[in-house]
Amino acid sequence: MPAAASRGWWRVYAVADVLLAVEGLSKRFGGVVASDGISFAIPQGELHAIIGPNGAGKTTLITQLAGELTPDLGEIRFGGRDVTALPTDRRSRLGLARSFQITSLFLDFTALDNVALAVQAHAGHSFHFWRAARKEQALREPARAALARVGLAARADTLVSRLSHGEHRQLELAMALATGPRMLLLDEPMAGMGPDESARMVALLRELKGELTILLIEHDMEAVFALADKITVLVYGRIIASGTPAEIRANADVRQAYLGEQEQGAGKASEAAHG
């Protein structure tokens, strides 16, 4: 169908079980173009990684996908439905769950309370004023299961403010999982983790890979190339390459983008050393 293809190529993908499709997404902040005509489609079950140097607009992209930012132009379709104008909470209830790069939790609640809230958000409306929510097994059990899944079962009753950074990252994921999502948007789930914790997170993501569609932003290239089915490379808000890990590894543009970044980094480091 050439007509359909020219009108919007993602419509063709829609037949092939595309879960998330983005077309022509653009967002600028003043003079800075954070997203520059981004288009891609993620089929059901794929783990799609987005990589790129700092400031490439990866988090801005996820923030638009999650609905906290509205794109200036373009369209986001989730499960065949146009969600571009839907607020965050509606997208979450459709099954689009995100985790935050900078840990965003309820610090004065216990770990279990945090996850139970995520369960509650998807268990009908919360205009229940009378029953003690902390005693509702229908909320507590799935929450415990999600905590166990990320390896935090033993810390269920600990206040989140007392958990370590690595545990915060695990809890971020547990909360996203507890919403029973169809798709996870993970913003650097391994940021700031030690090697052991990272290895455990990679193992967990590999486990989840079969069950859920995942969009992963991550700086840890080893993890990305080990996990991803497909990789999209973002530089200055624009997609410069998209393909399988092998294709991306071989891509000259990608190498240059990363080499350039490294050189800049080295330049800054030497400047700092001289200054």
Partner: protein, 331 residues
């Protein structure tokens, strides 16, 4: 979980004290004390209601006294127009408070932080000046309510002891209600929104409508306190809604402890007790040094002593009086 903790002992002690006030007043004939405690109990209802949105919901309303006025004026206006039945007056007072809370909340909850505080303050000031402009209902001077709300044979509000116990019962009902609410699903949403609103939306909550509902519940409860206050003083004037009144309510909640349902009761009790006791205390302490006239003049500056006390609580006892005793926060 043991029942006999210092905190529970304090709560039980305060409740016993409140329950026995009329007995003591009758035995000694000290009806000023009964009137004072009626005031404490009524303002405690207002402080508990404010704490629902401020302590648990993180919505610092600087216009909560507006509901005292709206509840009070609802009673006063109907009384003036010859409608004395409490069965009409009270629902009218609560409905008026709910409507006002709905309007204020719908607008103010779209903002955050200082802007939220300013908008709630602005609305309260608006009602304050509207009340001043109500010439038919006394304007600046206010009006006397010649007849308290009539509840037929159910209860006679003019009986001071009966009225006190009604207020105390309503305070207990309010505390229980708020306690159930904050531990319910709804309450957890409210507390989650205080803690991290952005995350709440990311996990799927449309927090605005929950916060707005909470705001209206608090407004209605405070409107009830206003209706009681008008019946207690047999009088209503705009000063009940002055922004310093809203400040008093905030002080009560902070002083008593925002993290718990009962804290504001302790706050109301201590603030009003200090207001009454500090001048006398200062006079007594300074009398030997200064003599009668000077001591009386110094006592006029009792608020100079109240300020530092409040400061100490804010600086060193973040959980308020209740937190000091319990050592535990929240819930």
């Amino acid at each position: 979980m043991t029942l006999l903790t210092p905190r529970n002992a304090l709560v039980a002690g305060v409740l016993a004290l409140l329950a026995l006030v009329p007995v003591y007043a009758t035995l000694t004939g000290n009806f000023f004390l009964l009137s004072l405690f009626t005031r404490i109990v009524i303002l405690a209802i207002a402080a508990v209601s404010l704490n629902l949105i401020m302590g648990f919901g993180g919505m610092v309303s600087f216009g909560h006294a507006a509901y005292l006025g709206i509840g009070g004026y609802a009673i006063g206006i109907l009384a003036k127009e010859g409608i004395n039945s409490g069965f009409l007056q009270w629902p009218f007072a609560l409905a008026a408070s709910a409507l006002f809370a709905l309007i204020v909340g719908a607008l103010s909850l779209r903002t955050r932080g200082v802007y939220f505080i300013m908008i709630t303050l602005a609305f309260a000031q608006m009602v304050y000046y509207v009340a001043i402009g109500l010439d038919r209902y006394g304007g600046d001077d206010g009006m006397t309510i010649y007849k308290r709300s009539q509840f037929g044979d159910w209860i006679n509000l003019s009986n001071k002891t009966a009225f006190y116990y009604l207020c105390l019962a309503l305070l207990l009902v309010t505390i229980y209600l708020v306690w159930r609410i904050v531990n319910s699903r709804f309450g957890l949403v409210i507390q989650g929104a205080r803690s991290n609103d952005r995350r709440m939306r990311a996990i799927g909550f449309a927090t605005y409508r929950y916060k707005l509902t909470c705001f209206v519940i608090a407004g209605v409860l405070c409107g009830l306190a206003g209706a009681l206050l008008a019946n207690h003083t047999d009088f209503i004037n705009p000063s009940i809604m002055h922004w310093t009144r809203s400040g008093d309510l905030i002080v009560m909640a902070v002083l008593g402890g925002m993290g718990t349902v009962f804290g504001p009761v302790l706050g109301a009790l201590s603030l009003i007790a200090l207001e009454e006791a500090l001048p006398a205390l200062i006079r007594a302490v300074t009398l030997p040094f200064l003599g009668g006239d000077s001591a009386a003049r110094v006592a006029e500056y009792w608020q100079l002593a109240l300020g530092p006390l409040f400061l100490l609580v804010v600086l060193y006892a973040r959980g308020g009086i209740e937190g000091l005793v319990a050592g535990v926060r929240r819930g």
